[in-house]
């Protein structure tokens, strides 16, 4: 599944999507950024509720295919601008983390 397809799922929308054709392989869930940095794998969807600028750096370092913000949390515009500039996709899901992950189950 590509990031663009993920963005089309019910309750999901793209906040910034500079690389829509990126393939998704696997899911990682976590909010402790230093932990995620060492454990998320390349091409994972990373589900989190953290919205500060550091998430863009962590996604970039871990080379995840996109950040999927659960619970409908929204980052500041400056975070989205940086993500756009750095080629980091950020999507948003209105649902809580568990429901968001379950929604991805059949695709990854």
């Amino acid at each position: 599944m590509t990031v663009q397809t993920l963005a089309g799922l019910e309750g999901v929308r793209a906040l910034t999507c500079p690389e829509p054709e990126r393939e998704i392989r696997g899911v990682y869930i976590g909010d402790l950024l230093s932990w995620v940095m060492g454990r998320a794998e390349a091409d994972n969807v990373w589900i989190t509720i953290m919205t500060n600028i550091n998430i863009v750096a962590v996604a970039s370092l871990a080379d995840t295919s996109c950040i999927l913000l659960a619970e409908g949390v929204t980052p500041e515009q400056s975070v989205l601008d940086t993500a756009e500039a750095k080629g980091v996709n950020i999507l948003q899901s209105a649902k809580p983390i568990y429901e968001t992950a379950m929604q991805l189950r059949e695709f990854v």
Binding site: L33, I53, V56, A57
Partner: protein, 185 residues
């Protein structure tokens, strides 16, 4: 990082890399707050670099000279409602008095406060990794103090290196003894 002591390890390693001869790690604790200061007399940074180090992208280039340590410490402090600051004087601007001071204030009662963790192991790891640095560690909590000054130790130990097993073990035990008093207040 799951423990603040890991943040301390990370920041102090920046001081070692900066070629510091003296590194101070100060923890000033009250029932509500924890203030961490890490100061060094290393090569320091120019104003432009200081402005950049809290930006995670400044530090995540492939040829980065510092890690994500500073952005993550800043986040850890701010997510408790606390604050973060960094000040530095570069060797180029002042060949005599240069170095860096990092300060982070935490509100301990905030739910997102990260526990301090095993700071004794952190101090021992740092001394073992850079035994020639003069380390000053001081943790104050009310009337209690846990403190270590390797310059004083060196004066007593003479030629015995600080990274010898016996000395490191003595450091560990003496800090643990000082910390034993912290629990009773």
């Amino acid at each position: 990082m799951k423990e603040l002591s890991l943040n301390i390890l990370d920041i102090a390693q920046n001081s070692i890399k900066a070629g510091a001869a003296h590194i101070g790690i100060l923890l000033d604790e009250t029932p509500d707050t924890l203030e961490l200061s890490i100061t060094d007399d290393g090569c320091g940074m120019t104003a432009d670099v200081v402005r950049g180090v809290t930006d995670p992208f400044f530090t995540t280039r492939t040829t980065r000279s510092v890690g994500m340590g500073i952005p993550l410490l800043k986040l850890a402090a701010e997510q408790t409602g606390g604050s973060f600051s960094i000040e530095s004087v570069s060797e180029r601007d002042d060949p005599v008095s240069h170095g860096t001071a990092v300060r982070a204030l935490f509100y301990k009662n905030h739910l997102d406060f990260t526990p301090l963790g095993d700071v004794v192991s952190t101090v021992c790891t740092l001394i073992q990794g850079a035994p020639d640095v003069d380390w000053h560690f001081c943790h104050r909590f009310g009337a209690r103090t846990a403190e270590l000054d390797t310059a004083e130790m060196r004066a007593i130990l003479g030629d015995v290196p600080l990274d010898s097993f016996e000395v490191l073990e003595w450091i560990r035990q003496s800090l643990l003894e000082e910390y034993a008093g912290f629990d009773t207040q």
